[in-house]
């Protein structure tokens, strides 16, 4: 099997270094408030990283293109799954006609009513007031 492509050591090291660098970049960027652009940027960087892993570490760049096709196919079906599901979940109560059908489940689950307030260690604190009871949705 000696005819298989052997990636030079240097390539591996460069790729690993870029991956680490990009990880640093995402963390750094996440502290800057860019509004909804944050998530776009984070996903963009993640995708660059993922491609580096796939093409170099997983050797897709040099492999039979069938293997790449398989991989891309998995992403395509994932895309289909998300997009079409979102056509529903993102547009419930569309047509704007029946407001009651929209925004349905933003109701706190009932078991929260029985939970005591806690401190940051999760220990219950005294319920000296009923404050937190008020901000719950009673139906």
């Amino acid at each position: 099997m000696s005819e298989h492509h052997i990636t030079p050591l240097k390539t591996y090291l460069i790729i690993a270094a870029s991956l680490l660098f990009l990880s640093g970049v995402t963390v750094w960027v996440s502290y800057i408030d860019l509004g909804s652009f944050n998530i776009v940027l984070a996903m963009f960087v993640a995708t660059v990283k993922a491609s580096l892993v796939a093409f170099f570490f997983m050797h897709l760049l040099w492999d039979d293109k069938k293997n790449l096709t398989m991989f891309l196919m998995s992403l395509m079906f994932f895309g289909i799954f998300v997009t079409i599901t979102m056509l529903d979940t993102g547009f419930r109560g569309d047509l704007g006609l029946n407001p009651e059908t929209k925004d349905p489940i933003n109701k706190r689950a009932a078991f929260y009513d029985t939970l005591p307030l806690t401190d940051t260690h999760g220990h219950p604190v005294d319920e000296h007031s009923d404050e937190h009871h008020e901000d719950k949705d009673h139906h």
């Binding site: 047509l95 006609l97 029946n98 009651e100 059908t101 349905p104 489940i105 109701k107």
Partner: protein, 324 residues
């Protein structure tokens, strides 16, 4: 002719969009029949015409395996049919989802295994939806426990009822009468008994009915009112009066039961009295009779005190002779 066919295939058309849907059905039906006839005729004709006759030598057969004309037909004809169906279907569909502004709004709640209807001017009915004719009615549906689906065949309409969410359907009934309602989403043991009726009345009659809603029973004696409530509040979907057990215990002999012991599934027991019955109806999950499952819904908020008394009074009258 078409009317007769419609009657053959479908229940009565009672909503304004029913005929539209039936027509869509017939369009697809006739196209399908045509395609089906082509398929079956082609298949029988070709297989018989080119059958291998007795004694005939095996031979090299034709190499014909395509024809541009035919193949484009395979695409074009279905594409045309499908396009018409799509446009038609969507137009009918939009009629079904866009609710007219002047619709009266009734709240429908599914619960295992009965329906509650709340009317705009107050008042509630169980398992009986009363609506005026020739006036759009908007139903806002939800459920108290699992999924149910509210299906009125004569209106050609159906919608699921989800807990914690509202769905909407509407219709405009064109003919007075009493029609079936079915639950069409599986919801447990009583699913197939979760039927109800829709009563379509003249608008004037409806107004009268609505204004009397809730007050009509005021002057009935308690046990008669209880007997009425027994079916009206859907107790009979789970409790029979003839001794056979459905989902819940039967009430054939309740009059004799008073003062006797009731054993629960956790081993505890209590003596049957008015209070026990009252709490069984309001908080059925706290004490579950041994041998049964805790599936009885709570009637908290659905029964007034007088109605509770009435039900208890009614149960007390029951004995072997009072079989209904």
């Amino acid at each position: 002719m078409l009317d007769r066919l419609t009657e053959f295939f479908f229940p009565k058309q009672v909503s304004t969009f029913a005929s539209d849907i039936d027509n869509l059905y017939f369009f697809i039906f006739y196209s399908s029949v045509a395609l089906f006839v082509i398929v079956v005729f082609g298949m029988i004709y070709l297989s018989i015409k080119y059958r291998h006759r007795k004694g005939e030598e095996l031979k090299l057969t034709s190499s014909k395996d395509h024809s541009n004309l035919l193949e484009s037909m395979f695409f074009i004809i279905p594409l045309i049919l499908v396009s018409i169906t799509f446009v038609w279907g969507i137009r009918s569909y939009l009629k079904m989802v866009i609710v007219p502004d002047d619709a009266i709004e009734i709240k429908v709640t599914g619960q295992s295994w009965f329906w509650t209807f709340d009317y705009p001017d107050g008042g509630t009915t169980l398992n009986e939806l009363v609506v005026p004719s020739n006036k759009p009615v908007k139903l806002v549906l939800s459920s108290k426990d699992v999924l149910h689906s509210f299906f009125i065949p004569v209106m050609r309409s159906k919608m699921d009822c989800l807990p914690n969410r509202y769905n909407v359907m509407w219709f405009d009934a064109t003919k007075e009468g009493v029609y079936d309602i079915f639950c069409t989403e599986y919801c447990g043991t009583g699913h197939s008994q979760m039927g109800a009726k829709v009563i379509v009345m003249q608008p004037a009659q409806y107004e009268e009915w609505a204004s009397e809603l809730g007050s009509e029973d005021d002057d009935l004696p308690l046990d008669e009112l209880g007997a009425k409530l027994y079916t009206k509040k859907a107790c009979n979907t789970c409790h029979t009066l003839d001794g056979s057990a459905l989902v819940g215990p039967s009430y054939l002999q309740t009059s004799q039961m008073w003062g006797q012991e009731r054993v629960f599934d956790d081993g505890t027991s209590t003596v049957i009295d008015d209070n026990y019955i009252r709490s069984s109806i309001l908080e059925p999950m706290t004490q579950i009779v041994a041998g049964y499952q805790g599936v009885m819904p709570t009637y908290q908020g659905l029964l007034s005190d007088r109605e509770l008394d009435a039900l208890i009074a009614f149960l007390k009258t029951l004995n072997e002779d009072s079989q209904i």
